[in-house]
């Protein structure tokens, strides 16, 4: 415990910088994945063939180990932030895509018909019927993706993208368990906070949601 306190006294600035890098990396990866997965997933919910391709693609992405992907990307994209982001996006896409497709397909067709009967155009239908009903599923996808991203972002330290992984790998190299504990603990805490936060949000959205 003393060692932890000493660490924060000596390297406090460095620690927060690493947390910042970790969060930035995770946030950017999530944003990029959302831009790809939401439209694709929505399209997939309309076209079963697209959905099938999405699912197959997701399964394929899941097979590739993230560390291997990071190193495979080096010849193509070099080192640093860009290859790290690509690897993390590849990790985040499967849960996002699958849940987006699921979210939009489970919307009751009757409700859509009611919308049409009320004179809604396609855009209104999407905004006022489909999206709110699919939202809990979408959020669940975001939650799963983000937990995955935060945990795996530690690996990005290998290719110079920084983050809390630096602390973990330094600790492993030096057999300094304080570093490993602080680094690993912080990553676990971030993941846990994401999980709990999103669970609360999903509960709230479901409670306020239309149809209840």
């Amino acid at each position: 415990m003393n060692a932890v306190v000493t660490y924060f006294q000596t390297y406090g600035g460095e620690y927060w910088q690493e947390v910042g890098q970790h969060l930035l990396l995770s946030g950017l990866a999530l944003a990029i994945s959302l831009v790809i997965a939401l439209p694709l997933g929505y399209w997939g919910s309309k076209q079963p063939r697209v959905a099938a391709v999405c699912t197959a693609f997701s399964q394929l992405l899941r097979i590739v180990p993230s560390l291997a992907l990071l190193f495979l990307l080096i010849p193509l994209l070099g080192t640093g932030l860009v290859p790290a982001l690509v690897a993390l996006v590849a990790l985040a896409l499967p849960p996002l895509l699958v849940n987006t497709v699921l979210g939009f397909t489970q919307v009751d067709p009757t409700l859509k018909e009611v919308g049409v009967a009320l004179g809604m155009d396609a855009r209104q239908l999407r905004r006022q019927v489909e999206l709110p009903l699919a939202l809990p599923y979408l959020l669940n996808g975001v939650k799963l993706a983000l937990v995955e991203i935060i945990a795996s972002a530690s690996l990005a330290a290998y290719i110079g993208a920084g983050g809390l992984g630096v602390l973990i790998f330094t600790g492993l190299g030096l057999y300094n368990l304080t570093y490993v504990t602080i680094g690993g603990g912080s990553v676990a805490l971030l993941s846990l906070a994401t999980m709990v936060g999103f669970d609360l949000l999903i509960k709230k959205v479901k409670a306020n949601g239309p149809g209840n």
């Binding site: 080096i74 290998y158 920084g162 790998f169 330094t170 492993l172």
Partner: protein, 296 residues
């Protein structure tokens, strides 16, 4: 009649089995997670198995883990460096000391931990600092003192371990003064030359026997204030193993006696620059340089 025959055959078999001498002693050879350590551990492993030992390899361990694993006996021996033992593990100051003194400090220091160092090789793989030659020319960098003055223009390609090890950056700052690099980024150790070559960084901590340093693309800076002592290659072993099998020490000392700095650079180069497999490189070397007599 048939029964008796079976019995006789069985008896013969058992006698045969008993006649086979006890299984060859097992030696676990470890290495750290970088090319030279893998290579030299493979030289040791190959020489030992040629000398009749059953060799188990535990390669690519982190540098702190392997030191402890050798004390507990999970690893019997691995290639280490006299300077690393003294500075990083025993945390003693060895700046400016001659190679023999560093080796003595190392040998004495590990004794209490149940470890023993064998005879150090002539090969000396020091810690060093390399810069891209283009950058070295632009900022007139020849020594680490020059680097310290120009640090604010340069990006440091580091590893977390070097940033914190007492013979790493903290040691440099103690001897040369604060290095205010434009940026310090940590990478996996194996990537540093690639990062330098791609222009994403300018300066990196290196080993002076790295094969890549034979290229004109990189310039090794002079340690003008003698921060780093000699880092002679030396087998570090669990003492019990050497006591039980004195032959292990004999074989490894034969290997070590032939390992010069030039040899190490050439072997490293074959792996890191020419892309050969370190096991094959090691095997070829042992085959060529160790005669039957060395392994007895």
């Amino acid at each position: 009649m048939k029964k008796r025959l079976t019995l006789m055959v069985l008896l013969a078999l058992v006698t045969c089995l008993l006649a086979i001498p006890a299984r060859a002693a097992t030696i676990t050879v470890g290495s750290k997670a970088f090319t030279e350590s893998e290579l030299v551990s493979e030289l040791y492993a190959d020489a030992l198995s040629r000398a009749g030992f059953h060799v188990v390899r535990k390669q690519d361990l982190s540098s702190a883990v392997i030191y402890r694993a050798t004390q507990t006996g999970q690893v019997d021996l691995y290639p280490e460096y006299t300077g690393t033992i003294v500075l990083a593990y025993l945390k003693k100051d060895a700046s400016g000391k001659p190679a023999a003194a560093v080796a003595r400090l190392a040998a004495r220091g590990v004794k209490k931990l149940g470890l023993v160092t064998l005879t150090p090789a002539p090969a000396d793989d020091r810690q060093g600092i390399a810069v891209r030659t283009v950058v070295a020319k632009r900022y007139h960098l020849k020594t680490i003192s020059d680097l310290q003055r120009q640090a604010s223009h340069l990006r440091f390609v580091s590893q977390g371990e070097f940033d914190k090890r007492s013979d790493g950056l903290p040691g440099m700052e103690r001897v040369y003064g604060k290095f205010r690099f434009k940026r310090v980024t940590d990478y996996a150790d194996g990537l540093k030359y690639r990062v330098l070559a791609s222009g994403a960084g300018d300066v990196a901590p290196v080993s002076t026997t790295d094969g890549q340093l034979t290229s004109k693309q990189f310039t090794l800076l002079k340690d003008d204030r003698h921060l780093w002592p000699a880092y002679n290659l030396v087998p570090l072993a669990n003492r019990k193993v050497i006591e039980q099998h004195p032959k292990v020490a004999r074989v490894l000392n034969q290997v070590d006696a032939k390992l010069t700095t030039a040899t190490l650079i050439r072997l490293n180069r074959q792996v890191t620059v020419e892309g050969k497999n370190y096991r094959q490189v090691a095997r070829a070397w042992v085959k060529k340089h160790l005669k039957g007599g060395d392994l007895r």
